[in-house]
Amino acid sequence: MTETTDTTGAFRRFLRRSPTPSPAATATTAADVPAPIDQGASIAVDIPDSDPLLAYLQSAPGPVDVARLELDSPAVKALREAGVALVVPLVSQGELIGTLNLGPRLSEQEYSTDDRRLLTTLAAQAAPAIRVAQLVREQAAEAAERERLANELRVATLIQQQFLPRELPHLPEWQIAAFYGPARAVGGDFYDFVELSDGRIGIAVGDVTDKGVPAALVMARTHSILRAEASRLTSPGEILARANDLLVPEMPARMFVTCLFAVLDPPTGRIVIANAGHNLPFVRSGGELRELRATGMPLGLMPAMRYEEVEGTIDAGSNVLLYSDGLVEAHDKAREMFGMDRLRDALGGDEAGSELLDRLLDTLRAFTGPEHEQEDDITLVTLRRSHGVAEAAVTAGSTALTSFSLPGTPGNEREAMDRVAAAVADLGLAPDRLERLKTAVSETAMNAIEYGSEGRDDVPIDVDVAVTATDVVVRITDRALSGAIPTDAEVPDIERKLAGEQKPRGWGLFLIDHIGDAMDVSTDEAAGTQTVTLRMAREETHHG
């Protein structure tokens, strides 16, 4: 006689015998001849869920003779090969929970009617008891699994928190805020700030695929590598390339790391980014939102990857957002994704720093609903450059007076001029200084509208006005639709114009050049913008 057991879930019945030959091995040596079962030995027979024997046993009224079964069933064949003569179904509350499998009687006689009746009674009493035992075992296993997961979660959280920055960098003129919200299962998000050897600031935001302790360990390793490389390299592309080469040989199967590495020069707002398959950062400037677009393979997948670098300038008043996919890939109850459009909308306001983070998280919560369990880690890092530093050339201590954007509609240069004039009204500029500034602004804005916006209402120009102890600084930024303003155009010559040898037009840059104290033109190819910076001394010290 043999014992019966059952696993949870998938329906399996075991008979144990040792040593355990595979059914196939038994079949080749013993064909269909029942093998004698040693007293007290046990044999394992696995009945797949699809086997017709299960349905048969479920509804069988009592013990079933294996020899007489006419089922096209691999399990029946296996039972015969294992030497099972009689199968007694164990049914509890209408559910087949196991079988009692018996070999031939030791007397080699058939099982009698009395035997069968006894076995039926035994099975009816044993089945509920076995079911209870099964349930107890299942619950114990579940509790152990829960405990294991809880422990793993604690460890993963501990690792994760160990590597998040304890405090954010304090940079003059910059407002920095960060948020890390772990999902219950703890993903592999991270962010970090590191001072580079040349004084610039490295900012990393990354996401390890997978969750739990494995993800946390890879995150910790990536974090350490990035820190180490950033201490000697200053190019974000090189830092990522080196990190990738170090991570490839040790990356567990099916895991990789997406990471965006930005290098910021705080005094000038110049930012260089490289990207290993991570979400692109947003820059919000003068009411306009753009992405800094750099591409590259995630870290840890393939060796010898190169990472392109993209440069931009974070102007005064502009915001940058670095983020992980936990935000945009969150779902609402209807399984709709938060998505990029909602993120763009949420970024459309004028909040900055932690207020911006609050707004993003509030928007997300409103979308997912209060009962929502966060699916993935969410990491957000924002940088805002205060008004007041127009660019590197502006000395410390400058004060922003105004920033505004105007549609690129012809004629709006007049509006730009009037608003700049209003902004500097309290500075007490001498009338001729003010008039010169107004003309220079008007001419510069006109160029920006004509070449930068091509006169389109939907392509704006941005104007920033700042003042230092000695100068008024006006920056006019356009979208460079026609490329750079042609600064090398022919110098206007009145005599040639009067003689019809030159067109009457072409005075704009000439005027700007001659009435402002200094003009500087710079282009930001990554951002697709061109900026003209006008400087006008507040007092008459020199003549343009």
Partner: protein, 109 residues
């Protein structure tokens, strides 16, 4: 219509034709200024006075319009004089050397 909209009135007074302008002298003044000069051309006088007294704003496109008008007047043998320019626009006329080809009232001193 507001005080920025460009307008030009052509008056014939003894010995000269005077174009009194008002509003903004920019690209939008083109048609009006050309029409004004056509009217000037019908007058016999060889002295043309451009009165900028009511012009508050001139940009580089406006300068180009003045250059073209000046070229037309010179072709027609008319001497051109500018009056009513603010000190700033007198400076602009000096920088662009328009002042080399027209008399600017208030510049003589």
């Amino acid at each position: 219509m507001d005080d920025r909209t460009f307008g030009a009135q052509v008056d014939s007074i003894p010995d000269e034709v005077r174009v009194r302008m008002h509003g903004d002298l920019d690209a939008r003044a083109d048609d009006t200024l050309q029409a004004a000069y056509r009217e000037v051309a019908t007058q016999g006088s060889h002295r043309l006075t451009l009165d900028f007294g009511e012009v508050g704003y001139i940009n580089s496109t406006g300068i180009a319009l003045v250059v073209r008008l000046l070229a037309d007047a010179r072709r027609d043998g008319r001497g051109v004089r500018a009056v009513g320019l603010t000190p700033h626009y007198r400076e602009i006329f000096r920088i662009t050397r328009l002042s080399d080809f027209m008399d600017i009232e208030g510049d003589a001193a």
